[in-house]
Amino acid sequence: MSDLRIKMLQLGASFKTTATLLATLPLLWAASPLIAEGTDEASLSGTVTYRADPDSPWRFQRYYVADQSTGALAEAVVSLKPTQTIEIPPNDTPANVLVDQENFQFIPETIAVRTGDRVRFTNSDETLHNVMLSHPADAFNVNLGKDEIYEHQFKSSVETFRPHRLGCVYHGSMRAWVFVYDHPFFALTGRDGSFQFKNVPPGEYQLEIHHAAGRLVWNETIKVSAKDALIKNIRLTPKNIKKRSPRK
């Protein structure tokens, strides 16, 4: 058993939650540190929506689009990928993010963190679960009984289109995704589909969106000028559904 694995009782109940998936999302945002404000820095905000097409149904829509009239898309990761070198402050205040296993599902299924943030996995089910990740820098494979927790500090960043995929070895349908960044310009959309980046250094970026659970992808090059207050409302359609490799 890993040294990091400790009983919930030893930690107290501060990380215990029975909250719903969407109620846990603000925790991630509140935990994300911001770059110290500079004079030329800009902001970027907007929404991600999904426009359905009856001729090309996206079967995951029922999970992630709560309001069909607005199409606001939840649980999409939005990120800015600099195309030039920018100065990134260190992650001085690492966030603590909780991922529960409840009713045979990771809750939340998608999280986005900075390198150095700590993710605590727990299990609210009576059934034995497991959390497993195969990655050279961040591998773990831990069984979790009810209320046990395992904490992992992610060391290496990933590309937005190649997040970590976690699973439970005992229950093949359980899956979760962890997006790890070495900068603070990332967001996970909530029920209203909104995202916001503050203190963005001027420059050119790839604005990338990946809905890992729903297999949606989108990207665009954007230019950010000094003191911009950009608003970007992005509408995804069935054309953004990631194609499967024909032989894989």
């Binding site: 079967r59 045979f104 229950h171 499967r244 894989k248």
Partner: protein, 394 residues
């Protein structure tokens, strides 16, 4: 020495006629689907169920008889090997007069045959965390029995072992002084009698496309009516033997442990996971606008098994009587699932439980989780218990 085993003499002519029949049957199947939502209907979500992801059957959006690729599961125990189709070969060896080694191209040049089958993982339905591992497919390939016939089985041949290209180091007697580590290929076996009965296919394509790597490319075994584990993927070697093969997935795993009542005693019996057990599930529930305070409801789903005719599917609401569902006449193929639907009349607002059960021509009834067949089962394979669906009509 004269080859006298039945499988060496019977099948060449039968195979040719069966191939033609199968092709004809497949080509006449309609593009039938479960009915879509009507304009005044909406889907009733199931309560307390986790989301369904990719590579799993999505019951609530099920509408196609042949399952689309992105809802097809894959389970493997020794990882997914990459087998180069250009250098691939299938070898038949052991107790045969004529060992043979065939390339993929040579297999594809042989008499073609199709098999329609609902393929289910035997662990499917063992928990909420694993209950969408089933799909219906149309496999293309060539006949196993004909190939065995050409190899001329020796009289001592009794068992056929199928080995995949996937291998792993297994530890036997772990932790003991006699611990043994040995690298073995994944293997499963069938008796000659079972091969006669099931008429397996050596399959290189599904639904008209080459197999996906994760599903066994370039070649896998398809055993109509048997659970997924018997349908060996990445098949590279067929070994004909006189004694029982006791590999991990025949003798240690995929062995159901089930209690049987003998008088006042419960005796536990271990048996190999082979034939698919009779099963049904409600896939979707549709509601229409309420009328006079009640909500009109209809449900639809699927039923499947080992190829025995499914004669009835029944649905029960809460603790009410079992009601007969309509089993769709077409499409129909012996080893594929049947879709059913039922008009449930109008239900009161609030929470309800719906459950289905299938009954086959041998009189077998899909068990409830409290029936001995399930309640006394100590392992998770063969999870064919009725699956109640909770809905909220508030």
């Amino acid at each position: 020495m004269k080859s006298t085993h039945p499988i060496t003499r019977r099948h060449a002519l039968k195979t040719a006629s069966k191939a033609l029949a199968a092709a004809t049957s497949a080509s006449t199947l309609s593009t039938w689907a479960l009915p879509d939502l009507l304009p005044n209907e909406r889907l009733v979500p199931f309560e307390g169920m986790p989301r369904t992801g990719t590579n799993r059957l999505d019951w609530e959006s099920l509408n196609e008889w042949i399952t689309p690729s992105d809802q097809v599961f894959n389970v493997q125990h020794y990882g997914i090997p990459e087998v180069d189709p250009k250098t691939f070969s299938l070898e038949v060896s052991g107790l045969v007069k004529q060992p043979i080694k065939l390339s993929l191209a040579e297999l594809q040049e042989r008499q073609k045959r199709e098999a329609l089958m609902t393929l289910e993982c035997s662990g499917n339905g063992s928990s909420k965390g694993f209950m969408n591992a089933v799909y219906n497919g149309r496999w293309q390939g060539t006949d196993l029995r004909s190939l065995l016939s050409e190899c001329e089985l020796l009289p001592s041949a009794k068992e056929i072992v199928f080995f995949g290209a996937d291998t792993k180091e297994e530890t036997l007697r772990e932790g003991s002084r006699r611990e043994l580590k040995v690298t073995v290929p994944f293997g499963r076996s069938m008796s000659l009698a079972a091969i006669e009965e099931t008429d397996p296919l050596l399959s290189y394509a599904r639904n008209g496309s080459p197999l996906e790597t994760r599903n066994g490319a370039p070649l896998r075994l398809i055993v109509p009516g048997w659970y997924g584990v018997a349908n060996v993927k990445w098949l590279t070697r067929i070994d004909v033997r006189s004694d029982r093969y006791m590999g991990r997935y025949m003798a240690r795993d995929y062995v159901s442990v089930r209690g049987e009542r003998q008088g006042d005693e419960v005796v536990y019996v271990e048996s190999s996971v082979t034939k698919i057990r009779l099963k049904s599930i409600i896939a979707r529930v549709h509601r229409r606008p309420s009328s006079k305070g009640r909500i009109p409801l209809r449900a639809m789903g699927a039923a499947w098994g080992d190829g025995t005719e499914i004669t009835r599917v029944e649905v029960r609401v809460d603790e009410g009587p079992w009601l007969p569902a309509q089993i769709d006449a077409e499409p129909k193929s012996q080893f594929s699932w049947r879709f059913f639907s039922i008009d449930l009349g109008s239900l009161s607002p609030g929470k309800h439980t719906l459950v289905s059960r299938a009954i086959d021509a041998k009189g077998r009834v899909q068990p409830a989780s409290t029936d001995d067949e399930i309640a006394l089962k100590r392992t998770y394979w063969e999870a064919n218990q009725q699956w109640p669906r909770e809905i909220d009509l508030s």
